[in-house]
Amino acid sequence: MKRPGVLSVYRWELIKLRYQKRTYLGLGASLIVPIIFVVAIHFRHDRRGGDFAFASYLTRSGLAVPLVIMLFGAVWMFPLITALVAGDIFASEDHNGTLKTILTRSLERGQIFAGKALAAATYAVAAILLGGTVAVIAGSIQSGFNSLQTLSGTVVSAPKGLELVYVGLLVYLIPIGTVVCIGLLLSTITRNSAAAVVGTLMVSLLFQLIGILPGLTGLQPYLLSTQFNAWQGLLRTPIDWSPIIRAAWVCAMYGVPAMAAAFLVFLRRDVAGG
């Protein structure tokens, strides 16, 4: 008999996500928010833009829309969407008693953990890429698929701008990956879906709070919240890789221990409830 592996768990975790409302809640938010944002731009009286990065570009190029969504989505929207699944994926099994059901089949705990972690990460990637793609399409309909002005003032063509947007989304996935790790940790520790989802969001917001506290600005480069802006290095001429490299190791600094702790907790824990 061929023994099952991580891919079996991964595949079925994705199937299970298809049948759960929270999946559509998160993906729905990724889909709707850029559309609402574009509609708001359309009806805005002040066409000069706001006082945030890329605000003035919004009416000139639709490619600015995903950048602004990434900017504001980092505050709570994307961490919350990510936490909806990462925080729930172990805790709901505990709550429903299904953990004991799957742990008494032919899969090692490590395989189940890996499959679930991969599924939570896949969902986060899907949500971010969906949000970004919808923002590109909606923005292009509203403001046109035009060339994009970088943060250094240079102008890149629309296709190059599109490439930068998608590479930016990939860079954005680095801190999102850390949120996944934190969500998985809280999911295994709390065994409570709501606590893990809210807890993950709270951790994300706490980083932002620390970032604005007077006297702690020196910590800013090393906070998780700061790494959500690393993609802006791509919009410099020449490209500034330093914030992206820093995001990689800072996020690893938070994410790897969280993931390792989640793994060990899941591996060693007693499944006494349910």
């Binding site: 099952p4 049948y19 004991k100 059901t101 032919s106 090692e108 060693r268 007693d270 006494a272 349910g274």
Partner: protein, 329 residues
């Protein structure tokens, strides 16, 4: 009904071998040095009152809980070391749990995928065995408790187990459901599957199981054949005569008549053997106490269970009965 043991390879490790199993939660000792052996072909009852540590023991057997000390071996393999120890093993502890938003078939397909390639081909047969084929496309969230219990059995059957561990499989079922569950378990035993059955339904255990372990406060107070347990308890006789006062006096004087007491206005005693009973009946007639009834009373597993789990070890049930009066010799 006792289930005859099927022939087994005596060199093969037993389906379940538990030695010195302990589980502590802080100050609380939930399982306290449990030793038990389930042999191939057994239908093994695991009995005890609530909180006696039955489910904790079963969870340790399935590798869900780490023992504080002691060992579990399933067919010689340690479930704490690898899930491979659960090959040939299936079952559930407490109520079987499924994904409420998936259909029964989807749930079984998922579990089959977690069992390996071949299990998927057994989904239809498993559903048919528990008579859920017609409801296979319904979401489990809409299932009754009894249907979930049956689906739990179906999920276990996917693994084609040699050992089935079932924790309270008939709990919450209506009489028809309980009957069906009994038939199902009997069918499993007839197929040669070793069954470990934890249950509160002592009549069911007595009917289905050949061997039992009775656990009290985390410790095994009896492990062995039900028939031996009953034999060890001796046979209680009930006596009614035309003159019970005189009959009591005769019983007191008669050799081989023990544990004499009056219970529910009947004289009760145990006898050292059938000869002692025969001598007593002759003595009663000679004394003028004509016999209305002199009958052995079968001790049930329930009597023995309460005796072992509620009384002091070795106490007899009758001595705790408020209607029972011991008679001094």
């Amino acid at each position: 009904m006792s289930v005859p043991r099927r022939g087994s390879d005596t060199d093969a490790p037993p389906p379940v071998e538990v030695r010195g199993l302990v589980k502590r939660y802080g100050e609380l000792t939930a399982v306290d040095g449990v030793d038990l052996t389930v042999r191939a072909g057994d239908v093994y009852g695991y009995l005890g009152p609530n909180g006696a540590g039955k489910t904790t023991s079963l969870r340790m057997m399935l590798g869900l809980i780490r023992p504080t000390s002691g060992s579990v071996r399933l067919f010689g393999r340690d479930p704490q070391q690898s899930v491979k120890a659960l090959d040939d093993v299936a079952g559930f502890v407490e109520a079987p749990a499924f994904y409420a938003y998936l259909t029964a078939r989807r749930n079984l397909e998922l579990l089959a995928a977690y069992d390996g390639d071949e299990a998927r081909s057994r989904v239809d047969h498993a559903l048919a065995t528990v008579e859920l084929t017609g409801r296979a496309r319904d979401r489990v969230g809409g299932y009754s408790h009894g249907m979930k219990q049956r689906l739990g059995i179906a999920a276990a059957l996917l693994r084609e187990p040699k050992l089935m561990i079932l924790d309270e499989p008939a709990t919450g079922l209506d009489p028809a459901g309980m009957r069906d569950m009994r038939q199902l378990i009997r069918g499993l035993a007839e197929q040669g599957i070793t069954v470990v059955l934890s249950s509160h339904l002592l009549a069911e255990v007595e009917e289905l199981c050949n061997r039992v372990a009775i656990v009290r406060e985390g410790r095994i107070v009896y492990e062995g054949m039900i028939s031996e347990l009953k034999r060890g308890a001796g046979t209680t006789y009930r006596l009614a005569t035309t003159d019970d006062e005189r009959a009591l006096a005769v019983c007191r004087a008669q050799r081989g008549i023990n544990d004499l007491r009056v219970q529910h206005q009947r004289i009760c005693f145990t006898a050292s053997g059938e000869a002692a009973v025969a001598e007593l009946s002759q003595a009663l007639v000679e004394a003028g106490a004509l016999i209305h009834t002199l009958a052995p009373e079968t001790v049930t597993l329930e009597d023995l269970f309460f005796s072992l789990t509620e009384g002091r070890d070795g106490d007899r049930m009758a001595s705790e009965d408020p209607d029972s009066v011991e008679v001094a010799r």
